[in-house]
Symmetry: C2
Subunit: 202 residues, 2 copies
Amino acid sequence: MRTQKKPPKPDERDRSVAIYAKAAEVIHAKGFAATSMSDIAEAVDLTKAGLYYYIESKEDLLFGIMSYAMDRLESKVIEPARAEPDPETRLRTLISRHARLLTEGNTSITILTDEVAGLTPKHRRLIVGRKRAYFDLVRDTLDEVKRAGKLRDADTTVAAFGLFGMLLWLPRWYQPKGRLTKDQVIEEVTTNALKGLLNTSL
Amino acid sequence: MRTQKKPPKPDERDRSVAIYAKAAEVIHAKGFAATSMSDIAEAVDLTKAGLYYYIESKEDLLFGIMSYAMDRLESKVIEPARAEPDPETRLRTLISRHARLLTEGNTSITILTDEVAGLTPKHRRLIVGRKRAYFDLVRDTLDEVKRAGKLRDADTTVAAFGLFGMLLWLPRWYQPKGRLTKDQVIEEVTTNALKGLLNTSL
């Protein structure tokens, strides 16, 4: 999703995405409120005027970063999961693919979690709406697993929030050069989450 | 813990705690970087000069809030858990008591999670040290449960971080007037967490 009015040329689109990625790192390190457009311009090697060619305002930049993060979540997690007809497989796909995305060092996805307060009301409605659709997919999947008799007697809303907590905390502690490989961490997180909810042995 | 040099009189101590609680609400709503000492003074009905009688600086205030939150965590969660000799009961006590604390609308505890970057390096070391001791208690408890043969074959570090994720996400979604009672939410969260890790039936 774009924040500019004119449809961008392909080069500009790439440049905007590169700016989002770099800006996400700066905002992640300093916090949105403490980050200035000058900080961003410096990080992406542009003058402030040059930056304003791509980005209308700090709020637009934040919206661009979050939209980019949601686009990635949709293509890497939501679409592959929706393609799974079996609800238990879909649940596992959602958890493990989201965990993988979160280990891939993309700070835009942590900003999606932590900086919603910085958005304009209109942008906030759009982002919160997309997040809500994802939450509903996870909870609906849990409901389907439950109807299939494979979930223990758990409240699916609390269970869905529990899954999000486990997942969204991951970037705060995961270390790419840690004791466990990325695949091991993803497997551990996925199994802990599923084991807590399913009544079948995995 | 206090940030002033002189030992405070009892009245001043109460007043400081009241300021921490109110300031925590303001910081929680606006974010630490965007909150000014004038915002805090206004919220606690003091002049800025009056506020500086109790609080030396914005960074000291943040440290005071976090120390107060850690004190509460210690008295309400850590001490009762340490008194439990059985590791499985201790684990359940840690999870359910921490969940309860997080449902009690005390915003200082969410600031403890989200605003560590705003501390001075010295204060950060102190707070991170106390958090680390708590993390170690949870992981050591998981290790004990494992040695007792009651944990499935899970990595206890990843498991401990998973528990923290589930718990620390709670204040972001819990609604005191929601469909479930506070006790039901605490029970659901505790069971989801324990079921994911124990190999015994609950």
